[in-house]
């Protein structure tokens, strides 16, 4: 029997090795992947995210938990496709052209995965062609990150590029503000990783 409570605690506390042990044991016992995700990992990530939003957890704890989540997801990912799990939305995420800082972007990617979304991580230095390639694979939200004020202007090009299509462009990163998002006409902005999940939820009209 999988101890879902222990799995949730291991993720929230960022205990990577515990997560690996519990998930591996569960897979050996042929535990239902959907249950592992829906009763263990996804609620855990939602919980730490909500704690963060309530100022009860801070970025270090969020990063540590996200890494534990990623460890568990890496074990499940090869099996998810075969499980016939229905996608609730597909998001492409990448650090924009000219920038290679990706710790914040990676955190948002894991938080989105942790909320049950399909995420295509395009890595760093992404131009519009790269984002396009993910849209061809079915992404309908493009999330752009930047750490350097010098690379922020590229977000405007991404927004312009997808204008008039069904693709929604959302932006974030340390120097990015709501005012900048409004100025360039982005479809959304979030100042932190958990806010990015809420933003995506709202774009998909999901209550969170």
């Amino acid at each position: 029997m999988t101890d879902f409570e222990a799995l949730r605690t291991a993720i929230i506390k960022g205990k990577r090795n515990d997560v690996t042990a519990i998930v591996q044991a569960a897979l050996e016992e042929k535990e239902d992947i959907n249950r592992l995700l829906d009763e263990g990992m996804i609620p855990a990530m939602r919980e730490i995210g909500d704690k963060f939003s309530r100022n009860e957890a801070y970025v270090p704890e969020l990063l540590i938990a996200a890494r534990a989540m990623q460890t568990g997801l890496a074990l499940l990912e090869p099996l998810i496709a075969a499980s016939g799990r229905k996608s609730i939305g597909k998001i492409a995420i990448g650090t924009v052209k000219g920038d290679l800082h990706d710790i914040g972007k990676n955190l948002v990617a894991i938080m989105l995965k942790g909320a049950g979304y399909d995420v295509i991580d395009l890595g760093v230095n992404c131009d519009t062609a790269k984002y396009d390639s993910a849209v061809k694979q079915g992404a309908d939200i493009v999330a752009c990150s930047s750490l350097l004020t010098t690379t922020m202007p590229y977000m405007r090009e991404v927004v312009e590029h997808f204008k008039g299509t069904h693709v929604k462009v959302i932006i974030g990163g340390a120097p990015v503000t709501q005012a900048f998002a409004d100025e360039i006409g982005a479809d959304g902005y979030s100042e932190d990783a958990n806010g990015a999940v809420k933003l995506v939820d709202s774009l998909y009209h999901r209550a969170s």
Binding site: N55, Y58, V59, P60, E61, L63, I64, R67, K97, G98, D99, L100, H101, D102, I103, N106, V124, N125, L147, L148, T149, T150, T151
Partner: protein, 478 residues
């Protein structure tokens, strides 16, 4: 200090106060990011970040740079900590061999992003020192904001060039450059480029290459310096890479790292140069300005009145004596180490027993969220050092700590919180300034410096997968 104000057209409260002779701390350039210019709004109607607010009840705290007085009159209270402070303690010392003995006076200048320091040398001895805030600070408090401003127009580039030259001119006047035979200059890459009037924009985006690494010898006149004889030669230490500049080359010259020794300049941008048997490797990690007090209300730079050390019994020492006005980076590191040792902080930096903040004095306290900022800064330093050493496959034997931050640092506490590895630390002082002075006294060093600056191999930290892992490990308190 309470001030009655009259409205003027579309000026920020910070501008209004400056016109009243009350200049505030606008180290971020007045873009609302550092929060150092907070004032209490006592009466009147204001627009804060574009939103109208009338003051009732009185006492709302607001960033003066983001606030505009809307009513005809208003009254605000300006706390002392929001006033622009003078640069009290800029490091002008260094260790190691004395600079070459030359009977003619020379001047060495270290152009930092925040501060500029200069010394005058006669016969290898410092005869005068001077320092000031970099006048470019009004265009932003970090190199990236300076790049953005300089890249926005030709005029903006010229503004920044002029700002740093004016600062240097003040120092030259103070040191009396009239009898000098040469000036040596060192700085990070962006500062050196701006001093030479070169647009640093390429440094701001991948692959972060500087448009120029080696700088021509110029005369004071060509550099636009008016407080020095017009024909005085000005020599600049060459840079290594976009984020590893001539300041580090000066450091290599001065400290001559041996295999296993790593030269580290801890600052907003933490630069590292590592010598191994295979060669010299360098990198830079963005630690952010938390240790300089940005985003930490109880934080302070190392100026008069700053707490430099926090002791296990809860007492502390203050630079220059007097009342504690804030904690500088070294005291924050002491605080983390002391509190962790006592079990008052858990491994995630959360206060035990549960509390939202910890009070040092009645007026100085730190919130948990701010502690998390410190953890991020120390994690960046730790991850930078570890990733550089690991990717070179060489253990660090000794750290050579350069720069102002290391001056008050207690290395044992920095090791205890996992910021520095468990190796010997040698504090080497302002080796950038020392290098600049040495070059001024011994101009034939320039070709040697150009050779040195071409040696290090640059490692892009963010492209190494282990960096993120090391960073996340580094967030915790051992």
């Amino acid at each position: 200090m309470k001030l009655e104000l009259h409205r003027r057209k579309a000026e920020s409260l910070a501008d209004l106060l400056a016109a009243e002779g009350c200049a505030l701390d606008l180290r971020c350039g007045g873009n609302g990011s550092c929060g150092r210019c907070r004032v209490q709004l006592l009466s009147g109607t204001y627009r804060i970040d574009g939103k109208e607010r009338s003051v009732s009840p009185p006492g709302i705290s607001a960033k003066a740079c983001r606030t505009v007085l809307e009513s005809e009159r208003g009254c605000v209270d300006v706390p002392d900590r929001s006033l622009r402070t003078l640069p009290g303690r800029i490091l002008t010392e260094w260790t190691g061999n004395p600079p070459p003995s030359l009977p003619d006076p020379v001047i060495g200048i270290d152009i930092g992003t925040t501060t500029v320091a200069a010394v005058k040398l006669v016969n290898g001895t410092i005869v005068a020192r001077a320092s000031a805030f970099n006048g470019q600070s009004r265009f932003g408090d970090n190199v990236i904001s300076r790049i953005v401003h300089a890249g926005s127009s030709k005029e903006a580039l010229e503004e920044e060039r002029r700002a740093v030259r004016e600062t240097i001119d003040e120092l030259l006047a103070e040191l009396d450059a009239s009898d000098c035979v040469r000036i040596g200059v060192a700085g990070n890459t962006v500062m050196s480029l701006l001093f030479h009037g070169v647009d640093p924009s390429p440094v701001g985006t991948m692959p972060f290459l500087p448009p120029l690494r080696c700088f021509p010898i110029r005369t004071a006149r060509e550099c636009g310096l008016i407080s020095a004889p017009p024909d005085l030669p000005v020599l600049t230490i060459p840079a290594i890479a976009g984020f590893v500049g001539g300041d580090l080359v000066g450091g290599i010259l001065r400290t001559d790292p041996q295999p296993g020794e790593m030269l580290v300049d801890i600052g907003t941008n933490c630069e590292m140069v590592f010598r191994t048997r295979e060669g010299i490797f360098c990198t830079a990690a963005a630690a952010g300005p938390a240790f300089e007090g940005s985003g930490i209300p109880c934080g302070s730079r190392a100026v008069e009145g700053a707490v430099d050390h926090y002791f296990p019994d809860g007492t502390f020492s203050v630079l220059g004596g007097g009342e504690a006005a804030g904690l500088c980076g070294s005291a924050m590191i002491d605080f983390l180490a002391v509190m962790r040792r006592k079990g008052r902080l858990n491994e995630f930096g959360r206060l035990q027993p549960k509390a939202e903040q910890f009070a040092f004095t009645e007026t100085l306290s730190i919130r948990e969220e701010e502690i998390s900022q410190l953890l991020k800064a120390k994690a960046a330093v730790a991850a930078g050092i570890q990733t550089l050493a690991d990717s070179c496959g060489t253990p660090v034997r000794r750290l050579l700590l350069a720069g102002g931050f290391a001056r008050y640092l207690d290395p044992a506490n920095a090791r205890a919180i996992g910021m520095l590895p468990e190796v010997e630390c040698r504090i080497v002082g302002n080796t950038s300034l020392a290098g600049a002075a040495e070059l001024a006294a011994k101009p034939e060093l320039l070709p040697e410096l150009e050779r040195l600056s071409a040696l290090p191999h640059e490692l892009p930290l963010n492209a190494l997968p282990e960096f993120e892992n090391n960073f996340i490990d580094g967030l915790m308190l051992p």
